[in-house]
Amino acid sequence: MAAKKNGPVIALGAVLAAGLAAPLVTGSPLGFYLEVLIGGLMAGVLYSLVALGFVLIFKASGVFNFAQGAMVLFAALALARLAEWLPAWIGIPAGFPALTLAFVLAAGIMVGLAWVIERIVLRPLVAQDPVALLMATLGVTFFLDGFGQTIWGSDIYKIDLGISKDPTMILESMFQGGILVSKEDLIAAVIAAGLVILLALFFQKTATGRALRAVADDHQAAQSIGIPLNRIWVIVWAVAGFVALVAGMVWGAKLGVQFSLAQLALKALPVVILGGFTSIPGAIIGGLIIGVGEKMAEVFLGPPLVKMWDLAGGGIENWFAYVLALLFLMVRPEGLFGEKHIDRV
């Protein structure tokens, strides 16, 4: 019975593992292979950060928050612009001090935003159909896109964390040509890991965090032990806003802060599908799988495909994540860490 159910999962895993190993077998240099792997992991970290925001909100309020991407953009814009303006306004030195203060202010703004969203959007729609709530978050997305550009501007802005962008070579003795890593990527990974630890501590050790977990498990039970649902929602949206700020900072530092940041958020959907809608570890591992999968596919699978069918260029990473998530769904509908759901009649 168990073997029968897990059969397809194992089969898919085997195919993926084989795909992962294939480049090595066909003679790609190990050093380069590792670089692609690292590149994929780094992209995956960024996906994970956005997916984390989705999962937090979905877990606590059952709302699929389409606006997470817009929140990332909004937070990043706030951070970048405040860091730029603060020195002129209050005369603190530009660079790290201004950035720190800007970070604190931006976090405050995200909390305020969470409060406003709860008040104006979620509260009137409480107990509505999930689709209506999803749509409402789409409305929030539009609003934030316009509002963010109005107050922060629509140019490309820099977030300068003061990290060198030049790559460094490591392990040159082990591989021919060495492995290229960028310090920026490493720091991004460290920040992401730090955030996850922080969240874990928050959920495990603080009273609020425990309350949030209670809500996630059972709304009614949580209410009956005296936790006001409204406040919980504000808190969880604020936490998601904070996660968005961190994601925006890391992304913004890497790519520059611009309107298009919000578009990357769509990638979080396959990530949460893969990881399960309610699982924080799922969001992280899902993000990494998607990141590695699509970079590997693009670099190693793309060129042969282009040759074989005489395509006009590769670009399969555009759909790879979704197709991967789809395949995965077909064999395991509840996601990696999701809860299984049985229909009752």
Partner: protein, 447 residues
């Protein structure tokens, strides 16, 4: 409730406005109307804004300094396309009937919109200027009566880049076995140069790899990993908006030398390099018509427009690459009208009349100097057969704080491009069932 009523009222107003015969009230006004399709929001705003500012500033200058185009006041209205084709079409439809004579000439500022409007131009009879973009085959004025890719096309641009690296290598024959990667925006814009690069690859034996980047272009990790693996000798960058700066950043991250990177002229402006910081040092791009810098026309803009508090954008952007290109684009519109006025008189002209002006442009160095564009625009001389009017460009290099223009001027090799244009235009004419003009005959009958 109140909100809803006012929305309804607004909608009614808009509809009736659209229904009313456009411009009846202005029939007597001595005005020439220029629609301005721009994008000041969205993923491409960083590049769209300075261009639009330059364009509008020049029209303001014409009115403030010269009192209009030979006494005909320039009017304009901006419409936000967001770089989206359907919005662009809507904007065009909205603006084309405005002013006493309708839209004079339209700059689409997007290859996608160009494709869509080209179809409509045959019935609307409004010329489309695509200075340095648009469809390459529209050089053929016999098929594309209304399109004017003035000053250059992407086929020309790609050709010049190949010439440049050929020269660097010590001869085009030295390109044999070299590897060139094209990193391009995955849209008609980015795909246009492929045909020419493949044609040239056949001639010189270099190896071309194609690396598309999806809109908006912030995800290029895999692209640059491939570049790191293949180590092409040169990378051509055909990007727009945030894609360009991202490409440079990713190049830094994989350690690809920036001085081996060559951008098209839309990937060689300040917003493309500034976000990359020091990493952009050594990056090259084509520059056609208008390099960065201040010339006579800029001084005029500052004096007549900005100093009067009428500047469209911030003053310090005057003289930047894309701003200058906006100025040049507006200059082309105005010069087209001026030329047409010599035939039809100094009054508001119809698009159809301006088409003649654009087709008979003869802007030599002297004429350009007279309007303040010395050093900021190249001579243009168009005809019924050739709607491009000359195609030349230089390479400029970012030194970390400004663009440094290289010494060599390249001209597209028409021997290669002409037949491609002919073939492509003929295919279009056949698909669309368009009657091809006979330029020799038209010329004879007009004399």
């Amino acid at each position: 409730m109140k909100l809803r009523i006012s929305i309804a009222a607004a909608a009614v107003a808009a509809v009736t406005g659209a229904l009313a015969p456009a411009g009846a009230a202005f029939a007597q006004a001595k005005e020439q109307f220029f629609p301005v399709l721009s994008y000041r929001t969205g993923a491409y705003a960083p590049n769209g804004v300075p261009f639009a500012n330059g364009y509008v500033d020049y029209l303001k200058l014409i009115n403030a300094r010269d009192g209009g185009i030979n006494g005909v006041k320039a009017t304009w209205e901006e419409c936000e396309t967001g770089y989206a084709t359907d919005r662009g079409v809507e904007c065009y439809e909205r603006l084309k009937g405005k002013g006493p004579t309708g839209a004079t000439v339209v700059h689409t500022l997007s290859t996608g919109i160009t494709f869509a409007l080209t179809d409509k131009s045959f019935t609307d009879k409004i010329p489309i200027i695509t200075a340095g973009y648009g469809r390459a085959d529209s050089v053929d004025g016999q098929v594309f009566k209304w399109n004017f890719p003035l000053g250059g096309t992407y086929w020309g641009a790609a050709d010049m880049l190949v010439q440049h690296i050929g020269k660097k290598e010590g001869g085009l024959d030295k390109l044999k076995g070299k590897k060139i990667a094209l990193v391009y925006h995955d849209s008609p814009y980015g795909k246009e140069p492929i045909a020419l690069l493949q044609e040239r690859a056949k001639m010189h034996g270099y190896d071309l790899s194609l690396l598309p980047v999806t809109h908006p272009g912030v995800e290029q990790k895999a692209t640059w990993l491939q570049i790191r693996q293949n180590r092409p000798d040169y990378v051509f960058l055909w990007g727009w908006g945030v894609m360009n700066s991202t490409a440079i950043k990713e190049a830094v991250a994989v350690g690809y030398p920036r001085d081996k990177m060559y951008g098209v002229w839309w990937a060689g402006a300040e917003p493309d390099v500034r976000p990359a910081g020091d990493g952009a040092k050594g990056y090259n791009a084509l520059t056609f018509m208008a390099p960065a810098g201040i010339g006579k026309v800029h001084q005029d803009v500052i004096k007549f427009v900005h100093d009067k508090g009428q500047g469209t954008g911030p003053k310090n952007e005057v003289g930047e690459v894309l701003y200058n290109r906006g100025l040049v684009a507006a200059m082309m519109s105005v010069e087209g009208v001026k030329r047409a006025q010599t035939k039809y008189g100094k009054k508001p002209l119809k698009g159809e009349e301006v088409q003649w002006g654009l087709e008979n442009l003869a802007l030599d160095q002297k004429a350009l100097a007279a309007i303040g564009f010395a050093g900021f625009a190249d001579p243009i001389s168009t005809s019924c057969v050739d709607h491009e009017g000359g195609s030349s460009a230089r390479i400029h290099t970012w030194d970390g704080s400004k663009w440094v223009v290289g010494p060599d001027r390249y001209t597209a090799d028409q021997q290669i491009i002409k037949p491609m244009i002919k073939a492509s235009a003929a295919k279009y004419a056949q698909e669309k069932k368009i009657a091809v003009r006979d330029c020799a005959k038209e010329l004879a009958s007009s004399k």
